[in-house]
Symmetry: C2
Subunit: 143 residues, 2 copies
Amino acid sequence: MNRALVFNQHLRNKGLKNTRQRLIILETFLDSSFHYSTEELYQVLRKDHPRIGYATVHRTLKLFTECGIAVELNFGDGQTRFEPLYSDHHHDHLVCTRCGKIIEFVEPRIEQLQREVAERYDFSVESHRHELYGRCIKCSQPS
Amino acid sequence: MNRALVFNQHLRNKGLKNTRQRLIILETFLDSSFHYSTEELYQVLRKDHPRIGYATVHRTLKLFTECGIAVELNFGDGQTRFEPLYSDHHHDHLVCTRCGKIIEFVEPRIEQLQREVAERYDFSVESHRHELYGRCIKCSQPS
DNA sequence: AACCAACTGAAATTGAGTTTCAAAAACTAG
DNA sequence: CTAGTTTTTGAAACTCAATTTCAGTTGGTT
Ligand SMILES: [Mn+2]
Ligand SMILES: [Mn+2]
Ligand SMILES: [Zn+2]
Ligand SMILES: [Zn+2]
């Protein structure tokens, strides 16, 4: 799954244009394995591309989400975060409430039990959010 | 666990006062089994108590959270919701993305697996959020 | 090259959440 | 009870991320 390709396809499908800014934002976003907020990605971009505006970064991240190459995350800190989506590698998150560190985890048995729960209530699941909040090993050490 | 008592204790501990408004808000909040946002609870209260202000409702819900008789929920609709906390009855949520219906579920096997995951990363969990988004049975019916 | 729809970025707007402040209410001590 | 002190209240102002607006620019098509 080539994410750049999926994005181009999406632009074509919707009659949208392939601009210099969108390409730069896409590359920067995909190169990182971070969980960027709009503001953070904007700051990173500003170093090399000071003329790209915040609104454009915001709109482009929304486009990424629309065409399925990114997902929105919300860890309750008042900032929406975005991460590149790997369709073959779903994961959930451990979030350190002290230093902000984000650890990714995969647990197929939980995914399976989720499906069972949904079935129990005749509920058809489209997405889910599963996050554990607490202290990472560094932050639980007695300094 | 008498939640009104816990709240009074909290007020005393912090040198706060026992006001008419706080009592009314507490009763209305506990009587409901809803997942109210501040605005929603404010609207409900306004019917019988039109002089209670939004800011007071907001501050009081924060107090409830502080003393542990309520929890904040965020289902990604841009409104923070609050629900009375029953210390002996933890649950997670199914959220219908069409009609907004909220179904509560309990699955001890998932809770157990969560603990295993945390251990795997030497992570000490303080809280977690686990929500499944999709269609409730009514909303997945072909009208 | 010319046209036009889409795009950009600065600035304005929105909306939930939070804070401010002067008047009111709850305590406390006498 | 009364006076004095502290906290609370509610309307309005403020904050801040997210979103929209709009005039000038750019991309893509003929
Ligand atoms: Mn991740
Ligand atoms: Mn609930
Ligand atoms: Zn940490
Ligand atoms: Zn529904």
